[in-house]
């Protein structure tokens, strides 16, 4: 089952693209406003810790899949139950990513096109790539990381050259006190986007050299955290914290203000392209995690045959999850960041690791 292997560089690209995902374009600093860049850096530390926890769990059972490891720690029945919980979570998270991307595209560009059409086409490509296996996905990720870095680097150069950055907008730092910054970091940003790394627990077993995987993962998190922090700092300094906090797509607004010599204008295409690429990988990785977990639970011999059914379920789930954007955003804040992510990305993994250590120490004592 784990015949495919990905190397450390591919893991790096996948993690960076995943973390940039939709977090790059959404105003994740809706609590901290000006200090969002600080919150991201603080949450990064927590994110690295979480990643180490997931890596540790997977490392204990190098020959098993994620579900397999859970089964070995908790026993077959409890393990399968937890596996089912994760299956539901991964599918719903994937549906949320899909819906988010579709809504952003509709709001900014495709306003006459039905949401279902955009999501369906998006999901079709995701399913196609994922059905080829994780190796293909990882190789695609390597290539697209380069694309995103070029787009991002080019966009940043244009922004800096057009004189629209006003660093004063970032001052005063922590005007509402450090409390808001910490709350924003650990209640919200740690969950989204860093908590969603739990999907990588399903990919980590496919690493060929587990030792460099850990280093690559940490480096990737630091890189993506720094990029996110810088991007949001630039957004706030261009738009001002008020407009930033109230917009649905602040990166789009920031880039649309680029005006160099009245010639280079309206570089919106850059942002939409970045959004599509990074969301694609976030969606694909979530989808892959869902597929492997399902294949494990239902003892399917060829996991990739499940790609299309899971894709369909995700598509319809994304349509049905909310009636409108405000409801969707509220669900994200209250349900996902408030309940689901803390449980699935912090509580259960910490619990698993704890049970594992307790069992091992009891086991060694009894011997």
């Amino acid at each position: 089952m784990l015949k495919e292997k990905i190397n450390a560089r591919q893991l790096f690209s996948l993690i960076v693209l995943f973390e940039l995902g939709t977090a790059l374009v959404l105003p994740i600093g809706f609590v901290a406003h000006r200090d969002v860049w600080l919150s991201i850096l603080l949450a990064l530390i927590g994110g690295i810790l979480l990643f180490l926890i997931y890596d540790q769990i997977v490392r204990q059972y190098p020959e098993s899949t994620f579900v397999g490891s859970i089964r070995q720690i908790m026993g077959t029945y409890a393990g399968s139950l937890i596996g089912f919980l994760y299956l539901g979570f991964f599918i719903h998270n994937d549906a949320r990513v899909l819906r988010e991307t579709g809504e952003l595209l509709v709001t900014s560009a495709y306003d006459m096109t039905p949401l279902f059409v955009i999501c369906a086409f998006f999901m079709l490509t995701v399913v196609y790539v994922v059905s080829k296996g994780v190796e293909v996905l990882a190789r695609t990720g390597e290539i697209y990381l380069l694309h995103v870095l070029i787009l991002g680097g080019g966009g940043t150069i244009l922004i800096l050259c057009s004189g629209i950055v006003h660093v004063e907008n970032l001052l005063p730092v922590m005007e509402d006190g450090a409390g808001k910054v910490l709350e924003s970091a650990y209640r919200y940003i740690l969950m989204f986007p860093f908590g969603e790394m739990i999907c990588f627990a399903a990919i980590l077993p496919s690493l060929n050299r587990t030792s460099s995987g850990r280093k690559a993962g940490i480096l990737a998190l630091i890189a993506s955290g720094t990029i996110l922090s810088a991007a949001h700092a630039i957004e706030v300094s261009i738009l001002g914290s008020n407009i930033y906090g109230r917009s649905t797509f602040p990166l789009f607004l920031a880039v649309s203000k680029i005006n160099i010599m009245d010639f280079i204008q309206r570089m919106d295409g850059l942002v939409i392209l970045t959004l599509i690429i990074t969301s694609f990988f976030k969606c694909a990785i979530n989808c892959y995690a869902a597929i492997t977990v399902a294949a494990d639970l239902f003892r399917v011999r060829e996991p990739m045959k499940l790609a299309m059914p899971v894709g369909l379920v995700v598509l319809f789930n994304s349509m049905m999850t909310s009636n409108d954007w405000p409801e969707f955003a509220l669900k994200g804040k209250v349900v996902i960041m408030g309940i689901l992510l803390p449980v699935y990305s912090i509580a259960i993994p910490v619990g698993l690791l704890a049970v594992h250590w307790i069992r091992r120490s009891i086991g060694s004592k009894s011997v």
């Binding site: 495709y110 306003d111 004063e168 005063p172 001002g240 008020n242 407009i243 649309s256 203000k257 309206r266």
Partner: protein, 406 residues
């Protein structure tokens, strides 16, 4: 293998279909490109009168033909509609316009003076929410005429009037620095808090307003109606309070560190001959505003450092002598100080902090700002603001002593 190539061909065919993006396609022939929007108050009921200056691309393209361009028609057309919301009027105007109005290229938003005198803070939500309208669109207030009339005036050198006004605005901000360029996002950021109120440049029609829209307006060398950028409107909480003109307007730009270049005229010599002046061209000007808090009361210091060249004199002052230069610097300094003082006085007398002193306080002393934020307008009116100016004349052009003999 045949089935494989057949199915892949079919797949390629199927994939080509969504590439056309049909659902959201808008043909260029179906779009009216708007250059500028004008918003006026309705005289008798609530709601707006919105005018659209639509660019006629075929007329603009025929740039070479001066007199022969009459076949292509006017470079712009103005349609007007009324309604209770701007979005509503835009769609309603489809009853007049042969094509759908397209906003992505909009350069200018003109607000009528009567509307600005009432309240313009509610106007901008549409421009924020729409993904077509850019945040870089510039705003002006039409002075002495309605926005609708302003949009109708044709301009000689630049065929599209909205481009002409845009060009005038940018150009005068950089070389005369008595007007400022304000974008929509600027306005929104300034409408939010008392820490920085609104300033918008004014535009007026010089000459005969009714003749502005006629083709005959362009057939003369000196036009009967012309658009001029004049003055800056000072707002308090979204309502136009007064106009800043001349030195006050320049002072206003200086305080915000927006002075790029200008010409300052100072008296040449000690005698009171008003014709004896020296004109100094400002080449560089930097302003820093610093806040201090004394016994819980805020005070500000404005530091201005400017450099310039002597560009013209009409008396026999010997510019090769250091003392003459120093004297001129002294007079320049006092004139700059006076302009800035007048600008501050205009804002303080109206209790409207248009220069962002509140924001400066927030950045350096956030806790004091929090205490004073709610009544900042009153606190600002009594604040002590010191002005320190340093002026340096560096050069005098291609000559030293003037040819004028006393």
């Amino acid at each position: 293998m045949r089935t494989r190539s057949a199915s892949s061909l079919m797949l390629i065919g199927l994939l080509l279909i969504p590439l056309t993006g049909c659902w959201n396609s808008r043909e260029l022939r179906d779009l009216s490109i708007i250059g500028a929007i004008g918003i006026d108050k309705l005289p008798d009921k609530p709601g707006y009168k919105v005018s659209f200056q639509i660019i006629n691309p075929s007329a603009v393209a025929m740039t070479g033909n001066g007199g022969g361009g009459s076949q292509a028609g006017m470079p712009v057309t103005v349609y007007t509609g009324t309604g209770s919301s701007i979005f509503e009027v835009i769609r309603k105007t489809s009853r007049l316009s042969p094509r759908q109005l397209f906003f992505s290229h909009i350069r200018l938003i003109v607000i009528g003076e009567t509307l600005a005198s009432e309240d313009l803070s509610h106007l901008f939500d549409f421009f924020e929410r729409s993904h077509e309208v850019r945040l870089t669109t510039k705003l002006v207030v039409s002075r002495g005429s309605s926005a609708e009339q302003l949009l109708q005036v044709l301009t000689p050198l630049e065929r599209i009037p909205s481009d002409a006004v845009y060009g005038k605005l940018e150009s005068t901000e950089s070389i005369w620095s008595e007007s400022m360029v304000t974008g929509v996002d600027d306005v929104i950021n300034r409408l939010i808090g008392p820490g920085k109120q609104l300033l918008i440049s004014g535009v007026r029609i010089l000459g005969d307003q009714d003749k502005g829209g006629e083709k005959a307006n362009l057939d003369k060398t000196k036009l009967p109606a012309e658009i001029e950028i004049k003055g800056i409107a000072l707002f308090k909480n979204g309502r136009l309070e007064t106009w800043l003109d001349g030195g006050k307007a320049r002072g206003a730009l200086r305080i915000q560190d927006k002075m790029k270049s200008s010409v300052v005229t100072v008296p040449c010599k000690d005698h009171d001959d008003p014709a004896a002046i020296a004109a100094i061209e400002i080449t560089r000007s930097r302003t820093k505003v610093k806040a201090t808090v004394v016994d819980g009361e805020p005070a500000f210091r404005v530091y201005v450092r400017e450099e310039g060249n002597v560009g013209e004199v009409s008396c026999a002052v010997d510019l090769s002598k250091k003392e003459a230069i120093e004297e001129l610097e002294q007079r320049w300094r006092s004139k700059t100080k006076q302009e800035i003082r007048e600008a501050i006085e205009a804002a303080q007398s109206r209790s409207s902090d248009v220069y962002g002193f509140g924001e400066v306080l927030n950045r350096s002393y956030p806790r004091t700002w929090k205490k004073l934020e709610d009544r900042w307008s009153e606190v600002f009116a009594d604040c002590e603001i010191e002005v320190h100016v340093e002026s340096f004349i560096r050069r005098s052009g291609m000559r030293t002593k003037p040819y004028i003999k006393e």
